[in-house]
Symmetry: C2
């Protein structure tokens, strides 16, 4: 079992690699080799099998051809230009999120055996004129270039799979919380920040009111779902191999209450409520009511209450005091 | 008003050109010039304004750049590799139906003014695991490469429009009947053939039973809808600029009864019923239950009973006896 993680330097890629190192198997077979590839060389990880790190530019077909070889059995394709970046730099987004996916798919098509491809899409494919809840059969009507490029990726993964060029499956990720690391300039940054910073004893700003609702999944469950996604038998995927990954709809108030239940009343006091209309304008357009029935039936799961998300952060990611 | 028809040599392109010649205006302005472009030089048409014919390869960006110029106000993009062709030749389909659309959109983006682009999609974008009726918010889950490429085109038209690169609008065409000309190798060929050939005094084979249902629109109403589509104000298009074009769901029996009502009992006697399981297997997977609510609200129309389709064929296309 030879595995490649495209985007292996990102935080989900690194967590996925560590999880694979811990289990040592995928699809019922021992892992022989793991390749972590990213635009900058990923950090190596400790594992009971060989781990290689590579610098790969997915916008360059030759670079993709070099990293996906005939021995590659499973590819996790996590590499992407994120939402705000794809919106600010249209051509970069098209190159990475569209041409990049085509390069990966066309390379798979050229191989003698058909690799499994786990494509990470995003719930950002949804928006616009669609009723709630968003079902597996709701049209992706994205209102960002990122969402558009991910929705196109889903269509391509389906068609290349239907034709037998690849054994693809795609999962639309919810917003990941609690995300480790530092706040960034993404409009969604506060959704992890208001939990992570207070747990670390640092003040955080909440730019929306406590009733603001959104759809979340912990990094730990996300990684487990990606692995489960790789293991689903092709014949169980049906006619649409792309689906929403389960998450939980939560208000800010529910998230903070969960933090208090796990860590006591002090962290919540470090949240400064400061309405930021420019953030509110963006995130209030985001959808939060999903019915990920297909993924649930295939064994993917959501967190069981946000207290889990808080505990996973403390256990998996919180810096030592 | 400068108009370009990409695919201007096809039967819809030619009918659209003749209709524009007849009305002489579009979007409330007199037509100054009409360019008909196709992979082979289109037949010229008579018009009260200058008509140019061009040979254009939409897979070649330079060829697209040459035919879309800064004076172009409205582009009708009808050029495509059809369903059976895109299924038989994957790379050709991707080049014409995906790269071709990107070439057109990127050329529009590079222009100083923003042209109107009328993109022809297809109800073939629908399929797979979606409930009936197919609504404006139903996911395109295409089961052909052609449908996949058209669904991608819709996403691109929406995003390029949202960003202000083009003023796009897309319409998913029903099966066009009664289509003029000769039978071809498309699985849907019989849907026009069983009406057209008998009206012309020629035998035709019906490969499915009389209860087989499908969704149809006449060429005449299709052309009228494309013109109406070009004239819709951008602000009325909402957050999804692509929509299903109205048609009628009809059984084969209803179609033949309509032919008999218009042309008497003789033509129906020229239909030979000969079940062809290989045709049945393809067309039985096609969807026929659509609710094109958005397009209807925007003034696009279906035929008023299949007798209209029969009359339009006799008036517009039937060869003189």
């Amino acid at each position: 079992m030879n595995i490649l993680i495209l985007g292996g330097g990102g935080f989900i890629g690194q967590k996925l690699a560590r999880k694979l190192a811990e289990t040592g198997t995928l699809r019922g077979k021992a892992i022989d080799r793991l390749v972590l590839a990213d635009i900058a060389a990923p950090a190596p990880i400790d594992a009971p099998f060989p781990v290689e790190t590579r610098t790969t530019d997915i916008t360059d077909r030759a670079s993709v051809d070099a990293v996906i070889d005939p021995q590659t059995d499973v590819i996790f394709h996590l590499a992407a230009v994120v939402s705000s970046h794809a919106e600010a730099e249209f051509d970069t987004g098209m190159a990475v999120n569209l041409t990049g996916v085509l390069n990966v798919l066309d390379r798979c098509r050229a191989l003698p055996a058909t690799p499994v491809l786990v494509f990470t899409s995003s719930l950002a494919v949804f928006g616009g004129e669609v009723p709630d809840p968003i079902e597996d059969w709701t049209i992706p009507n994205p209102q960002t270039s990122y969402g558009t490029q991910k929705a196109i990726g889903e269509l391509l993964v389906n068609d290349y799979s239907r034709r037998g060029f690849v054994d693809g499956r795609g999962f639309r990720l919810p917003t990941i919380a609690v995300r480790p690391g530092k706040p960034n300039r993404a409009a969604s940054s506060f959704m992890s920040s208001i939990i992570r910073e207070p747990l670390n004893g640092v003040e955080a700003v909440c730019p929306v009111d406590p009733d603001f609702k959104h759809y979340y999944l912990s990094p730990r469950r996300c990684v487990e779902n990606l692995i489960r996604g790789a293991e689903i038998a092709a014949e169980d995927l049906g006619m649409n191999r792309c689906m929403s990954m389960p998450g939980q709809t939560l208000s800010i108030r529910q998230m903070i209450d969960a933090m208090t239940a796990v860590a006591g009343p002090e962290p919540a006091k470090l949240i400064r409520w400061e309405e930021q209309p420019e953030i509110g304008a963006i995130v209030s357009g985001w959808r939060y009511d999903y019915n990920p029935a297909k993924a649930l039936a295939l064994g993917l799961i959501a967190d069981d209450g946000f207290e889990e998300n808080v505990r996973f952060y403390i256990k998996d990611d919180m810096p030592a005091a």
